[in-house]
């Protein structure tokens, strides 16, 4: 039986695991999975088949506010002081804990025999992503209370989180239009396993001097938590009826469905320079099965039980306490509903400019360039360039910029190193390697390597790895 720890793990994985910036993978043409980041990528592959469950494994976790080491370093400091200094008052509501994971179940690509300018790819992958912003005012209220904080508003919008686990079925077409331009598109069908979202909360809690009594407690709330799939998981766990089979059922088109599209291009400016761009996950999921939403909307100010004579003498036996509770319930009703809702996928945008140099690899240059790449772009031993990554987040777009250098040693080995600046780190150096041993392709990538000297102090870590079977050029 899958116990409750599995559920906790699931949440931790999704929370630690959001829409990873795969700057190492992007436009790494030798890696088959790179075409998932730009359906219009230039590729010299004739065919690839990913090893099921091993062809694409990626994980990313990031905290823009604090690291594990900030709290748990064996430094002799009182952990309560560290929490107050580094979390309660050290982190901002814009700081986030986020991450993503992705595991490919199936991934296949092949070049059309009829029209070698066309490259098709399809597959299934499981993806979990989640983000939670630092709920600063909730934390202060929970850690220290409201005493001696007269007129301080505790902002309810600080609760801002979303996440989901989804299976993605996809089919993509990559087409060379001419010697300079390649375009691509990928259709996606999403099968949501579970989803939660609470991103538009508004309101505040404040304690002020009372109008009649000593203090007035005011709650103005417009809050909502939307969920789908979670109740059936909880029920299956409680009943012991099999969470695994439920997840599989919801993941294999038995859950909430959605559609989306990726588009991208590669354009060769001149013999050495190319620009690329892609937009990924331009889509949505409609949640209508096993939906449970929770709302708290309204406003109330209370100053305790109030008994005012002579009015209260009319009915001296009335239950003033219960009346107060009832009034609050009416003014700020807590409700549950099953209304369906739509979530938009965290849309990502990639762009790059790349300068290739050095002597072109003969085997690449001699390939059927009509089928694979062009003479001008594939097979260079060196490339440098810059990349841009933007992702749509609940608090607005988030950007990362990357500089990269790639070195190819023939078809056998390719190395790519990146330097990325984003909200998590300004010292993110990454390294990726792609190795082809005969028809076997292995790749591994990790970034924020400087953080590896003390992983606990790192605020960002990610890796990607996979194994494929490949062939080059024309089939």
């Amino acid at each position: 039986m899958i116990n409750r720890y599995f559920i906790v793990l699931l949440f931790v994985c999704t929370f630690l695991g959001y829409a990873q910036n795969k700057q190492l993978m992007y436009d790494f043409k030798e890696v088959p999975q790179a075409i998932l980041l730009n359906p219009g990528m230039e590729t010299g592959l004739g065919m690839y088949v990913g090893v099921p469950l091993l062809s694409g494994i990626s994980f990313q976790a990031g905290s823009s506010g604090a690291s594990v080491n900030d709290f748990f370093a064996n430094d002799g400091l009182d952990i309560n002081d560290k929490i107050r200094e580094r979390a309660l008052y050290g982190m901002k509501p814009s700081d986030e804990l986020s991450g993503s994971f992705q595991v490919e179940i199936l991934n296949v690509g092949f070049r059309s025999k009829k029209n070698p300018d066309n490259f098709y790819s399809f597959g299934i992958y499981t993806e979990g992503d989640a983000i939670g912003y630092w709920f600063k005012d909730y934390a202060i209220l929970g850690f220290e209370g409201n005493a001696n904080r007269l007129n301080q508003r505790f902002n309810l919008s600080h609760l801002n989180t979303r996440g989901e686990m989804v299976n993605v079925f996809h089919f993509g077409i990559n087409k060379r239009i001419d010697r300079k331009l390649i375009v691509g598109a990928r259709a996606k069908l999403y099968s949501s396993i579970f989803s939660f979202r609470s991103t538009k909360n508004k309101g505040y809690f404040v304690t002020t001097p009372g109008e009649n009594n000593l203090l007035a407690s005011t709650l103005v709330a417009d809050m909502e938590l939307q969920t789908s799939g979670l109740n059936s998981i909880k029920d299956a766990n409680d009943d012991g009826t099999g969470v695994g089979s439920l997840l599989a059922k919801r993941g294999m088109l038995g859950g909430d469905l959605g559609v989306g599209v990726d588009v991208g291009f590669t354009y060769q400016l001149n013999r050495n320079t190319t620009i690329t761009g892609s937009i990924l996950d331009l889509g949505f999921i409609s949640h209508s099965k096993d939906v449970k939403n929770y709302t708290l909307k309204g406003q109330a100010t209370i100053e305790g039980v109030q008994v005012i004579l002579p009015d209260a003498l009319v009915d001296p036996s009335q239950d003033f306490w219960q009346n107060l509770i009832d009034d609050v319930d009416v003014l700020i009703p807590y409700e549950e509903n099953n209304k369906s809702y739509i979530t938009f996928r965290p849309t990502k945008l990639y762009g790059s400019i790349r300068y290739n140099f050095g002597e072109q690899n003969r085997s690449m240059r001699d390939c059927d360039c009509k089928a694979g790449g062009s003479k001008g772009s594939l097979g260079f031993p060196n490339a440098v360039g810059g990349q841009l990554y933007v992702i749509n987040r609940p608090r607005g777009p988030q950007t990362a910029v990357t500089a990269f250098y790639q070195r190819n040693f023939g078809k056998t080995l390719s190395l790519k190193t990146t330097y990325t600046v984003d909200k998590f780190s300004a010292t993110n150096v990454g390294l990726g390697a792609n190795l082809n041993i005969g028809p076997v392709n292995i790749y591994a990538m990790a970034d924020n390597l400087i953080g590896y000297k003390n992983l606990a102090a790192s605020q960002y870590a990610s890796f990607q790895l996979g194994i494929n079977v490949i062939s080059w050029g024309k089939n």
Binding site: G145, N213, V307, L431, A456
Partner: protein
């Protein structure tokens, strides 16, 4: 010279898979103390001088029990560790008054009594703060078992005079300030 291709892979794997981590003491979680202090008004009573004059009972012109479940809430009663109740009496009527507040349990037993005196047309309020738990003499069980409040008010003056002040009233205010142990 032939480039040792596979050496790069080995180096890469070494770099990515062999990482360091400074000593962490996750046992510090045992030392985390979360003890917020919350405050809110609990009870407000107000009467006009007319009401006082119209009830010339020498034992008290008003007494009543009020259901009050706030302290009985499981989350609060299980976790409260210390705190206080602050009482304030304001009097602009023409007679001195005694107000008694009693904390009462489910069986109607009086758990604690606080008396506030105030003179006629008092310039200053009468303020009393009663502490429970911690280093105070009063047990927190008083708070934990309180399910009702009894307020009694006694007129120590005459029952005909009218205060020279506008809209004369006797006002009783109170608030609670308690620390709870979340962890």
């Amino acid at each position: 010279m032939k480039i040792p291709h596979y050496l790069f892979s080995v180096l890469f794997l070494c770099l990515t898979l062999v990482s360091c981590i400074e000593e962490q003491d996750f046992g510090q979680t045992d030392d985390i103390v979360i003890e917020p202090t919350f405050q809110a008004s609990i009870f407000y009573f107000e009467t006009t001088e007319d009401v006082i004059n119209s009830n010339p009972d020498p034992t008290g012109f008003y007494t009543n029990d009020f259901n009050f479940e706030a302290f009985r809430a499981e989350y609060f009663s299980d976790k409260v560790i210390e705190g206080s109740i602050f009482y304030q009496l304001e009097n602009t009527t023409s007679k001195p008054v005694i107000v008694t507040i009693e904390l009462i349990d489910d069986g109607g037993n009086v758990l604690d009594t606080t008396t506030l005196n105030i003179g006629a047309e008092a310039v200053n309020t009468t303020d009393v703060e009663v502490f429970y738990g911690g280093t105070s003499a009063r047990s927190l069980d008083i708070i934990r078992n309180t399910s009702a409040l009894r307020l009694s008010a006694q007129n120590l003056g005459d029952d005909t005079s009218i205060s020279s002040q506008a809209n004369p009233k006797l006002i009783f205010r109170s608030s609670a300030n308690f620390k709870i142990s979340v962890r």
